[in-house]
Point group: C2
Chain length 270, copies 2
């Protein structure tokens, strides 16, 4: 057997050992997953909006129906948080026993409840939240963080090991702890980012180092689709509370600043 055949055979054995992956959703994050899995995994994709997908390596894929994708060893749901319950309902009858169903949403409490309630008892469930996106991971996922909320079964441990080998920092937590922390981390960042980008172009000339960091943070979140903002600000059960604490403290400060009108009223010479 020649060298080429040896390599091809080794590669096909490796592929055979890799679990097959079904991806539901080919939006911004679905594409990132496809890019990461295009090599080495048997990947099938389903998205009602598309019939063909071009992977980043140029590979063209005909998109499958939900029933076909459901036959994979691992099924990843990369759908908006608000669509989770619906997708679980239509997916449920097609899932085989022992399949691992994984989500990637920005909130975990409600989606994990939906998955437990709506998916058959014979599948395993893992909640994940990759703490990066198409913007921050455009040059690769290594070094980024991913939160895992194991819900049912033990296959998630193998997933965690693969993610660690890919250079990700794996953080295991509960859905509640996740949503409480992310209500600050994403709730505040995305709200501030949305307000600042709505206010129009930001200054670029007379800037400070701290403002440059703030502007860079805004740039990273401003192109997120509205479904992400909705998940972070509305579907996270702790977001409103954190937001209100921010505004209460801001109002107090504002009142303090306005209590010194003698200085603020200085009229600029024109």
């Amino acid at each position: 057997m020649g060298l080429k055949q040896t390599f091809e055979r080794a590669h096909s054995v490796e592929q055979a050992q890799q679990p097959s992956v079904g991806l539901v959703g080919f939006g911004g994050f679905g594409r990132l997953i496809a890019r990461e899995l295009a090599q080495g995994n048997k990947l099938t994709i389903c998205d009602p909006l598309y019939s063909r997908a071009v992977l980043p390596d140029g590979q063209r894929l005909t998109l499958q129906g939900l029933a076909e994708v459901a036959q994979s060893d691992i099924v990843i749901l990369a759908v908006p948080v608000s669509a989770m319950a619906h997708v679980c309902r239509v997916l449920a009858p097609h899932l085989r026993p022992g399949t691992l169903v994984v989500d990637v949403g920005s909130v975990k409490v409600a989606p994990m409840q939906d998955m437990q309630r709506l998916l058959p008892a014979h599948v395993e469930i893992l909640g994940t939240h990759p703490l990066f996106g198409p913007q921050s991971a455009r040059s690769g996922i290594a070094g980024h963080k991913i939160a895992l909320c194991p819900v049912r079964g033990s296959k998630w441990r193998r997933v965690a090991a693969v993610l660690r080998r890919r250079g990700l920092q794996v953080l295991v937590t509960s859905a509640q702890d996740h949503d409480r922390e992310l209500a600050v981390v994403q709730g505040l960042t995305h709200m501030i980012g949305k307000v600042l980008s709505d206010l129009g172009p930001m200054p670029e000339r007379l800037t400070t180092a701290s403002f440059d960091l703030l502007r860079e943070a805004v740039r990273m979140v401003q192109d997120d689709p509205p479904t992400v903002l909705h998940a972070i600000e509305v579907a996270n059960p702790y977001a409103a509370e954190v937001r209100n604490a921010f505004f209460e403290r801001a109002e107090e400060l504002k009142a303090q600043f306005e209590a010194h009108p003698e200085v603020g009223q200085t009229v600029p010479a024109s």
Copy 2:
């Protein structure tokens, strides 16, 4: 003449060519100025709070009175914006003709008006705003930005040339344009930074890249003295307007988020 003497003589000729500098104010920013000028300039310092100053190179300096410091070729006022008018009044009678008086405050409109009104007509005036601080420039000033608002005389051009040679990016502007731009750049950053640091320790585990940038921005401004926050939020004539635009847009967004209670009310399983 030996090599040592040649060097010493060259050094003393160089020192003689350098203008003498008087520094009023030995707070956080005054110390940064002293660190930058300790080599090569004849530097005298005045601060009513101190009688001795230890420069970063270990040199011990006896602090002078305002009258002595006023004899320098260049007098730098590194005092809180709210103290500018007072300092100008007590400094004025001691200043020699042709002296260049420079400020370093975070706002320019009102302080420039105070300097023009209160300093004698025979001195030159330059408003500056170094767009960095003890935090962001702790490892040096090269690469940072400084805004210059020339008010009276032409010696500021020599200062600009020296600053450029030190690696600073020199941005010449008017007091009005400066304050309008900084009302966004510093007004929003410091307000957001103050609110976030008042809310308590920020999450460190489940963080995203954009939140890490926001947290770093907060860390850079949270140790600024209250006088800096006052200058930025109260003494800047455009700060209130920018702040109000931020809060109006934020309130609209908040109302949008709260219009979807059916999702937000999901009760976490405990």
